[in-house]
């Protein structure tokens, strides 16, 4: 037994050292996101590549649902102490979480990372709230105007129609509706909230002024934009009411070849190509009064409650996800815009730019793209806007009266949140 003692001691030491090194090196980052299907697969590929390069870090990626689901679940997880370590947050809705200290200030991480100089200015800007960096963009987008070439041709619309103003878009939608309405084809999908914001911006207005924070929901140009959007459904009948109550139904109908045009995020490019193939054409958003589009999408933030070593690991992942290599995978698969200045140099991205002409439209729009406001009240405003839009689009309430009421309630809520 005595003779075996050195051996046993040695084995014990090896086992102890082994377990200690496991404990020190292995870090797991719980990461909540909103991507499924082809976007989810692209994210998985990025995570696999990251884990291969960083053997001690595991990214426990969990698909939670859409952006609204993430906000609701994150909020509920906080008092339960079950929040994740990192989370994807939509670019206008992280302000409340930053303001309440839920998200950690990433400024130091950003300043000490070469990524700082590699990100486009718009990508840096969308992550800044109150002068500090809280998220790093992962999927950035602008709305674009998709149309189904085959449907427009069938309706007798000339090739490459002029779609620069509200009137141009309405004229094409009306022609499609008149020619093909009996076959169950609509002229245009009712605009979703992101597209509505874009249409307000290109009517030279906004929902909230991104500099002064002034609420502009009842500004004349905002009212005019809503009047036009609502008229597509209840006055001209060129957009199906289904897309008003369930926004995704408008998109799904477009993908099914039942709608002529759709204004939606560039993030839908991948699935639109898959559904419509060569019939898909991507055009810039109209420039009714000015050319301006909102920047959408989401970025990754780190929760203040995470442990320090987890925060470091999470940052490593965020930085990796925003690198040119990862961004090229993401951009070429989904159609979300490049956020890294070197993405286009990557072979995957270069090939996508070469073979998928529609993918370039959003990039060309960056010259007049604008970050949106993100004060705490935006989360409330966006949640309430759906009801207001339904009432206006379905002709149940007068547009001016609805927006006056909505603006007054938003101002009151902003005051309450500022207390």
């Amino acid at each position: 037994m005595v003779a075996k003692l050195p051996k046993l001691t040695g084995l014990g030491l090896v086992a102890l050292l082994g377990s200690t090194s496991m404990t020190l090196a292995d870090v797991s980052v719980e990461f909540w996101h909103s991507f499924s299907k082809n976007a989810g697969e692209a994210l998985d590929q990025i995570i696999d590549n990251f884990e291969a390069e960083n053997p001690g870090i595991t990214i426990d990626a969990q698909h939670i649902g859409n952006y609204n689901d993430i906000v609701a679940k994150l909020q509920a997880s906080i008092p339960a102490g079950r929040e994740p370590d990192a989370v994807i947050m939509e670019v206008t809705r992280y302000g409340l979480f930053a303001d309440r200290g839920v998200l950690m200030d990433l400024t130091d991480y950003v300043e000490n990372d070469p990524l700082k100089d590699d990100l486009f200015d718009f990508a840096r800007e969308v992550g800044v709230f109150d002068g500090k960096n809280y998220i790093v963009p992962f999927n950035s987008s602008t709305p674009v105007l998709y149309y189904n070439k085959a449907i427009l041709e069938q309706a007798g619309v000339p090739e490459e129609p002029k779609l620069e103003t509200y009137a141009d878009v309405l004229a094409v939608a009306q022609q499609v509706q008149a020619e093909l309405g009996d076959e169950g084809i609509s002229g245009i999908a009712a605009p979703g909230q992101f597209a509505r914001w874009g249409l307000i911006m290109d009517n030279d207005s906004d929902m909230i002024d991104s500099v002064s924070g002034e609420i502009l929901l009842d500004a004349p140009n905002t009212v005019e934009a809503y009047e036009w959007m609502a008229s597509l459904v209840h006055e001209h009948g060129v957009a199906s009411a289904d897309g008003v109550t369930t926004e995704n139904q408008g998109r799904d109908a477009f993908l099914a070849g039942k709608v002529g045009m759709m204004m939606n995020s560039t993030g839908n490019y991948g699935r639109s190509v898959a559904a419509l193939g060569d019939d898909l054409v991507v055009a810039p958003m109209p420039c009714n009064k000015v050319c301006r589009v909102p920047i959408g999408g989401a970025g990754i933030g780190i929760l203040s409650s995470a442990e320090d070593e987890v925060k470091d690991a999470a940052w490593k992942f965020i930085s990796y996800a925003a690198s040119a290599e990862s961004n090229a995978i993401w951009f070429s698969t989904t159609g979300y815009m490049p956020i890294n200045k070197h993405t286009a140099e990557q072979p995957l991205a270069a090939e996508a730019l070469e073979t998928k002409p529609g993918i370039r439209v959003a990039i060309d729009q960056l010259g007049f793209a604008k970050g949106r406001p993100r004060p705490p009240v935006v989360t409330w405003m966006r949640a309430t806007e759906y009801d207001m839009w339904q009432a206006m689009a379905l002709g149940q309430r007068d547009v001016t009266e609805t927006l006056d009421d909505f603006a007054a309630r938003t101002r009151a809520e902003a005051e309450r949140l500022a207390k």
């Binding site: 509920a76 409340l96 199906s240 009411a241 289904d242 109550t245 369930t246 949640a383 379905l394």
Partner: protein, 289 residues
Amino acid sequence: MLRKLTPYLFILPLMAFLAVFTYVPILQSVNLSFREWDFMSPTKLWVGLENYQLLLSSRDFWNAVKVTTIFAVISVPLRLALALAIASYLVRETIVSRLMRGALFLPSVTSTVSIAVVFSWVFSTDYGMINAGLAWLGFERVQWMQDPQLALYVIIFVNTWKQLGYDIIIYIAGLQAVPTELYDAASVDGGRRLHVFRRVTLPLVMPTTYFLLVVSVIDAFQVFTIVNVMTKGGPAGATDMIVNMLYRVGFTLFDIGQGSALAVILFVFLIALAVLKARVIGRKVHYEA
């Protein structure tokens, strides 16, 4: 001493479970209903009755009360009447009735979310099966989910379709417990079918009816999933029921104080309703033939 404690020890595990998952959360909700909190702020500011005052003076609250009441008043009698009628037919032990029982019960054990998603498409204005059928017959398309006058009835239909199978099975169990001699006696006395149903069947399934009434009223006031998936309370608040409003206020608008106040109001109301039902209807229920 131990003998006295034994029964309490037996129920202790269940009481502990109920305390942790039911009673403590109820008490916490009551506490939160007097505070202003958004789940994130470290402080929960005491605001007294302000949340209740805001709710009672809000247009949305009274709309939700109205919509929920209409839903309950229509859907509960509809469910019970349909279930009893169908159960009276399916109570016979034949192969067809056994198959029908299984088929009708299936929606009760199917995911509510799946049902709501499927019916969203079935009732879709431009792409739905029902409107396609109407169009084929030469009728105009109907805006089922967009017309505030219709949307609530669509929700009532879907909810009834989902819950009916459960009610039928319970009624069948109730009907099977009715002694056959009573029917024989009624038959000998020359009672007509409707008369026998009114004088024999109905009184004897009263305990079942009472049970289903209590359960379905509570269910009607707590409908959420179908509404959340199909309409989110729209259009223009036409299907905004109390629990949907509670979710919106608490989890979308970040006002957990008002959300809790709404939950407390609903809790108190349902208890009051249960007591009222026990006093008014409970006395007419007889458990022996």
